[in-house]
């Protein structure tokens, strides 16, 4: 019985830690979706780019992946702004039959990024072998007679805490600063925001950059605990949109909760059903959200707020 509890708690911890990182990926996606009304299907590929930046900084200059948090996200911010200004903005103005042209466009960008990464960096699996990678805190160190053993991996915990810090900083930015308020106004009602003197075009560019920077930060947090290869982007794009649907389109709070739910759920499927099935669990929860809760967690939060 203790063994089962131990497995369960350990799975739960792993799920929450993973979920915290997922939340960061989801927030970037949901911000872009809220402001631009387009799904950024190159989100994971942007994360891959950030991970390669962190990887090269580590292997060439021995810069710790956590330090590259100061380098990769700003670069990604610039890349995101460039993509938005040079490619996505022109398409918003083009007359076309299909309404989803911008989405297909982001797929094209993703293909280019992934293929360029394969050409320049080969499709080898890479990782940053930091010396603290296998260190962990053990429950028995603190509570000697503990009936079961739990461990808390050092890099996972650091990544999780940094993710929480970044999310909090983002929350302050969105709620307390003028730019943040303008972004939220643009997301709520583009035309009204424009009438109030918000530079909507600029906000779009900043939002795309911000979304890219956030996922870039997630990449820096992922690289010490994960491995890296060019096709990894597609996988994380899928994760990002599952979180976005689960959380509710365009809702930041929803993305955080969605990330946590997905992290815990995936971790549970991996333990109790089988490693190979974890991605299926991901999609099962996605389909369930579509059927039972199309508005995502955000619609529940809203309902509660209304009934108050």
């Amino acid at each position: 019985m203790w063994v089962q509890l131990e497995v369960f708690l350990q799975t739960l911890i792993a799920g929450v830690l993973l979920g915290g990182l997922y939340a960061l990926i989801g927030i970037g996606m949901t911000l872009i979706l809220g402001v631009m009304k387009i799904i950024n299907l190159t989100h994971g590929q942007l994360m891959m780019v950030a991970m390669y930046i962190a990887f090269w900084l580590f292997s060439l200059f021995h810069i710790d992946p956590y330090v590259s948090l100061l380098v990769a996200p700003p670069l990604l911010f610039l890349l995101g702004m460039f993509l938005q200004k040079a490619l996505i903005n022109p398409v918003l103005r083009v007359e076309s039959i299909l309404p989803h042209n911008q989405v297909i466009l982001t797929v094209g960008i993703g293909m280019v990024l992934q293929n360029l990464a394969t050409i320049f960096f080969t499709s080898d699996y890479r990782s940053t072998p930091v010396d603290y990678a296998t260190e962990a805190w053990y429950l028995s160190d603190y509570w000697r007679d503990a009936p079961f053993e739990l461990s808390l991996s050092y890099p996972w915990t650091v990544s999780f805490c940094l993710s929480v810090i970044i999310t909090t900083a983002l929350w302050f930015f969105l709620t307390k600063t003028d730019t943040g308020k303008s972004i939220r106004a643009t997301a709520q009602d583009r035309d009204a925001a424009m009438l109030m003197g918000v530079n909507v075009g600029l906000m779009r560019v900043i939002t795309f950059g911000l979304g890219a920077a956030l996922v870039g930060a997630a990449g820096c947090l992922f690289i010490p605990i994960y491995y890296l290869f060019p096709a990894l982007g597609a996988q994380f794009t899928l994760i990002a949109f599952v979180i976005t649907i689960l959380g509710g389109l365009g809702s930041t709070m929803g993305a955080i909760l969605g990330g946590l739910i997905l992290g815990i759920f995936e971790s549970m499927t991996a333990t109790y059903v089988g490693m190979g099935w974890a991605p299926v669990g991901r999609f099962a929860i996605f389909v369930a959200a579509l059927v039972f809760l199309p508005g995502g967690v955000a619609s529940l939060l809203k309902r509660k707020a209304v009934s108050k």
Binding site: L33, I38, I39, L41, L87, P90, V91, V94, E95, S96, I97, L98, P99, H100, N101, V103, I104, L105, V107, G108, I109, G110, M111, V112, Q114, N115, L116, T118, I119, A234, L238, F241, V242, T244, I245, L249, G274, G276, W277, P279, V280, F283, F286, V287, L290, V291, P294
Partner: protein, 312 residues
């Protein structure tokens, strides 16, 4: 003249194998025709009804696996896969349509993406049924290409006819109405969810045929190939985007260009590995400058080149 164009093209295509072309050229022709079938099928849903699917690999792969498994487990001819695929593909499309097509916005795009991935992962993990990543190998019916060529040509002709009949029927107008303005369509009494689901199901079944043919023709499939996002789903979209969205000839023109381009690029030294980059750039350029494809924007193209001609 214009009315008979499809028949003329069909007649020309039907005579082609008699010219004694090399096996490689026939292979290219078969691929072109196969991709135009997939493209036309996607176009019904994406072009006419305006529901962009990123997961047609799900239906393609399902069709391919139906053909492969019929042969592998039941010992029947893999050609039975065409018949067997209909209920499976149609049921998948119906269930998916009933879940996702009620919703507006980006849900459909995301759900189709997810469906393709779910199918791939399921096929990889159900090793008892599908042999997982080992894939399925079957005995091909002919070594010669001619037989396959006529079969796929027949499929293309049938698909073209079905799409044309549908697009020019009452349903076709409903589809376009839904694409142009869903609220207006609904207020005129069109059951939008129903007609979107119909478009999805027809499109899925036709794509499934394309997949079943692929199994018969190639003789080998594995989940990574037939459920591939990049090589099936996205390529299908590109065939239609390059050729022309919501046009009869667009997917065919697109298939010719994409198959030839893929062959040319892959055969070039050094550049071969960058073919996805080039495809991606092509996709970006098409979306920005020719959003309705070569056929859809042919007036624009004519004007562009006409102006250039006048300037010289």
């Amino acid at each position: 003249m214009k009315r008979f164009l499809p028949l003329i093209v069909l007649a020309v295509m039907a005579v082609l194998p008699l010219l004694g072309l090399s096996s490689y050229v026939m292979h290219l022709f078969i691929l072109v025709v196969m991709w135009s079938v997939s493209g036309m099928a996607w176009n019904l849903l994406g072009g006419y009804t305006g529901q962009v699917s990123f997961g047609h690999a799900a239906f393609f792969g399902l069709g391919a696996y139906c053909a492969g498994l019929v042969s592998f487990h039941l010992g029947l001819s893999a050609w039975w896969g065409f018949a067997v695929s209909i209920p499976f593909v149609a049921a998948t499309a119906l269930v998916m349509g009933m879940i996702v097509l009620r919703l507006r916005g980006p849900y459909f795009v995301l759900a189709t993406l997810a469906l393709g991935e779910i199918m791939r992962i399921t096929a990889e993990n159900l090793t008892d049924l599908t042999q997982g990543n080992l894939g399925i190998m079957i005995q091909r019916t002919w070594v010669e290409k001619t037989g396959y060529y006529y079969i796929v040509l027949l499929m293309a002709a049938a698909t073209y006819t079905v799409i044309k009949l549908l697009a020019e029927s009452r349903w076709g107008y409903y589809f376009v109405a839904i694409r142009e303005d869903q609220d207006a369509a609904e207020s005129l009494g069109i059951n939008t969810t129903l007609y979107k689901t119909i478009a999805l199901t027809v499109s899925a079944v036709l794509t499934g045929f394309s997949g079943a043919f692929y199994m018969n023709y190639m003789g080998y499939i594995d989940p990574q190939v037939v459920f591939s996002l990049g090589d099936i789903s996205i390529l299908t979209i590109m065939v239609v985007m390059v050729g022309g969205v919501a046009t009869y000839w667009g997917p065919i023109v697109g298939a010719v260009i994409m198959v030839l381009l893929a062959e040319v690029i892959r055969s070039l030294p050094y550049i071969g590995t960058a073919y996805q980059t080039l495809f991606g750039i092509l996709l970006i350029v098409i979306i920005i400058y020719l959003p309705n494809g070569l056929v859809g924007d042919r007036d624009k193209l004519a004007r562009l080149f006409g102006k250039k001609g006048a300037a010289h």
